[in-house]
Subunit: 151 residues, 2 copies
DNA sequence: ACAGTATAGTTGTCAAGGCAAATATGCGCG
DNA sequence: CGCGCATATTTGCCTTGACAACTATACTGT
């Protein structure tokens, strides 16, 4: 007799599937980083990317942007500041907050990493048409919105 | 002068978006688990679900199924075994391997958690039509396949 | 059967991240 | 202004997961 409770329908649940995709994307990007000799993990790369794309912002804005705990953010900022890729400046309107900005070295690093990142994300979606990519993006944003609404 | 390098096009990259969605799904499921008084984190829930849906399997098969390192798997198995939700049995064909199977308590727990898990995943996709859910699933599987192919 | 290689599971070690507490500001209201 | 509450950052503590080293067993080719 078979002991499993739910007959498998051969489909992964959305949660499992998204977890797998995320894991592969992180691994692919970290592999790029290693290949280019960049001493960054995915999280630090993500911070760098956000800052490069959106410009300076406070630490908590950055934390929200990369979905990271505030405590973890402090420590990642320490590391990236030590490596010389960013600066903590005082925030102009809010004395509690910081203005995190890339240094020239940080911007240069981003320029160096930018291309292979684009290529990797392109590779991930290479079997999707432009329209399908658009829809995937749209669906994911709708799922995200649905999850964030309280009900 | 503006210091950011890449003008924002207002769109998150696929990587960032998927990371966010995964984070929200994990938080939602852990919130369910807490609400039902289940002393499980997402990873353990995921293991339980896999075992319930697919039946007994070896530890490394389970590790691959939930995308977890082998070392981490050993420790999670320790915990779930201590809680009484699963058993390590000898594998019949391979003396290196284990046959991980749910106990009656583990199956009962899964029956208890199953409904709210379905409801949460349904909630996540509530703004998508059946056809759109189908497509989302399809696109994600194609992205996963593309990422796993060496090139 | 034997050597070499691959895989299963366990363990030690370490870095990353979540959570809570502490401190410093901001912000709204009487 | 002063009070109460929310937010920003930092730090300590703890859990989780990755990676490497190790043992045991399987597989492959000769």
């Amino acid at each position: 007799m078979n002991t499993h409770i739910c007959p498998s329908d051969g489909r992964d649940s959305l949660g499992a599937l998204i977890g797998m995709v995320r894991g592969e994307i992180v691994r692919a990007i970290e592999s790029d980083l290693a290949a280019q000799g960049a001493d960054l993990k995915f999280t630090q790369f993500h911070m760098l990317k956000r800052l490069a794309m959106l410009g300076p912002m406070s630490a908590s804005e950055l934390a929200r942007a990369v979905d990271l705990d505030g405590g973890a953010m402090t420590r990642q900022l320490d590391q990236l500041e030590t490596k010389g890729y960013l600066r903590r400046q005082p925030h102009e309107q809010d004395r509690r907050a910081l203005r995190i900005e890339l240094t020239e070295a940080g911007e240069a690093l981003w320029r160096h990493l930018h291309e292979s990142n684009v290529a990797t994300l392109e590779r991930a979606q290479r079997t999707l048409s432009a329209e399908e990519r658009e829809r995937l993006h749209d669906y994911l944003e709708r799922v995200l919105t649905a999850l964030r609404e309280k009900d």
